[in-house]
Symmetry: C2
Subunit: 338 residues, 2 copies
Amino acid sequence: MLGTILYGARDVRCEEVPEPKILKPTDAIIRLSASCICGSDLWPFRGENDTPEPKAMGHEYCGIVEAVGKAVTTVRPGQFVVGSFCLSDNTCPHCRFGFQSSCEQREFMTGAQAPLARVPLADGTLVATSELPPEDLIPSLLATSDVLGTGWYAADAARVRPGSTVVVVGDGAVGLMGVLAAKQMEAGRIIIMSRHKTRQDLALEYGATDIVAERGEAGIARIRELTANVGADSVLECVGTKESMAQALAVARPGSTIGYVGVPHGVEFDGQQLFFSQKGLMGGPAPVRRFLPHLMDLVLDRKINPGKVFDLELPLLDVAEGYRAMDERRAIKVLLRV
Amino acid sequence: MLGTILYGARDVRCEEVPEPKILKPTDAIIRLSASCICGSDLWPFRGENDTPEPKAMGHEYCGIVEAVGKAVTTVRPGQFVVGSFCLSDNTCPHCRFGFQSSCEQREFMTGAQAPLARVPLADGTLVATSELPPEDLIPSLLATSDVLGTGWYAADAARVRPGSTVVVVGDGAVGLMGVLAAKQMEAGRIIIMSRHKTRQDLALEYGATDIVAERGEAGIARIRELTANVGADSVLECVGTKESMAQALAVARPGSTIGYVGVPHGVEFDGQQLFFSQKGLMGGPAPVRRFLPHLMDLVLDRKINPGKVFDLELPLLDVAEGYRAMDERRAIKVLLRV
């Protein structure tokens, strides 16, 4: 079959790879209904993370179960399933605490930019629908696997409450999903920092009440103005750079929490500064599995439409163009037909 | 009158100082029922914070209102009051958000190691009792002003819940108050890291269920053992050094929050480490004013006895000996008769 392999910076290829097989009794093989490219795939693509050896890319997935290992009891061939990019047993103490992304058996999904993928820890990871979903919901169901789950976690970690004033730093796909999540959590005001018309428009559609196009000091000043010099009750940091985290810290009010879901690159916190400014922090890889049943229901009930975040669709063969389109911000998020 | 002035490292003196006066219409002057020395006073005493000019020491206080400025409406001469070490107007957006320690008008109390003290922002800061409290409750009421309020905030910030497993790092007065707070919040298990018999005993009296005398790797291993390799749901970091924060991070489970109230000295957090370990952080100077009415009620109803944390009582004239006794850990906390 075809699969996606990253060889190093700027070198991602769609090429012939072996079909995945059941390796452990807890595995499942799924036939993907669609796949996609994640913002986090851009870190190694840009060479900001090393790629010491060729890597099978893709960790967002949904599709039909093709085969299961002998120990798998909760899903069976023919069922439609979604799983988290974090593989978890969903039974260990960390899973039961709602932090499946720190599961004692945690693995990270790979190889899902392909028509077939192996899902380890299938029982703990996969959530099946009661029937096959209609085709038009596939993009939104795919989104629950990571990008929506991650935006949702950012809002959850930042303790968005009904009526909250929320600032979303980052207008990438995760940031936009953070807007959607904050809206679902009944935030009173949702301010997104965005300079791109198409992203601004989608943010407004998802529930943003204010757009701040300025960055740096000017962006901070604008948000202070919008919040009567108070700052935000909750900040969703959806980028992961030093600059974006500084922006998040500067617009968070004392006593607020910054939910940060962009993998931090070059970010450090000074203990004493953090202390006296009284900004809370909670982040990490999203425990998507905690939210997955709820998010899938919202999609199946057509209450949310996270799939609109995919603004470019490409065949798997053109995966490299997909990476480039996202890297150059020509696309918010690329859906791959596999 | 006599007052306490710090001139520099190891040089604290009780000497003749002018009596405080009403300087602003929002001030009150109180006659202290007792005063005390705070663990945080030891930072400048030890020379770990600079003392560029002589400083009037003391920020924990309770006593009888002697005089009030013209704008003060909520307290009147003759009333018994307690106030927070953070002075706040209790009306600004940060105060209303429960973070009076980040009040727009925030000042830090000084000069309370003396018989009389000026309390700015009296209306927002002071809480009066309905009648004069019995003498034996003075130490406990004094404790609510900072040390108890700070331990309480550590537990609140760390999100202690009924049934939680809590680790308290630090067996100073604040750590011991953290134990008391966690017990009041119905934690299921309260593990304190302590190597000192008298502090261990008091911790047990306040509700600790386990004592860990080991430190560093051995301490971490012991807590992992006690928590079935899971770690704590909530960690109260009540010291502020690099080592104590490392200890706190190492024993916190993924998804837990570290409430940190020791002023960080030399503490830095690596964004990526914090991210992948999924430890939450919330700290800062305690918004004692938020908790003060509740804590005073608990004392007045004799439900808690935080005053036991004072294990040495000295006349104000011997304040320097008090600093030395706390510095050398001969005393947990020193009460000053003023």
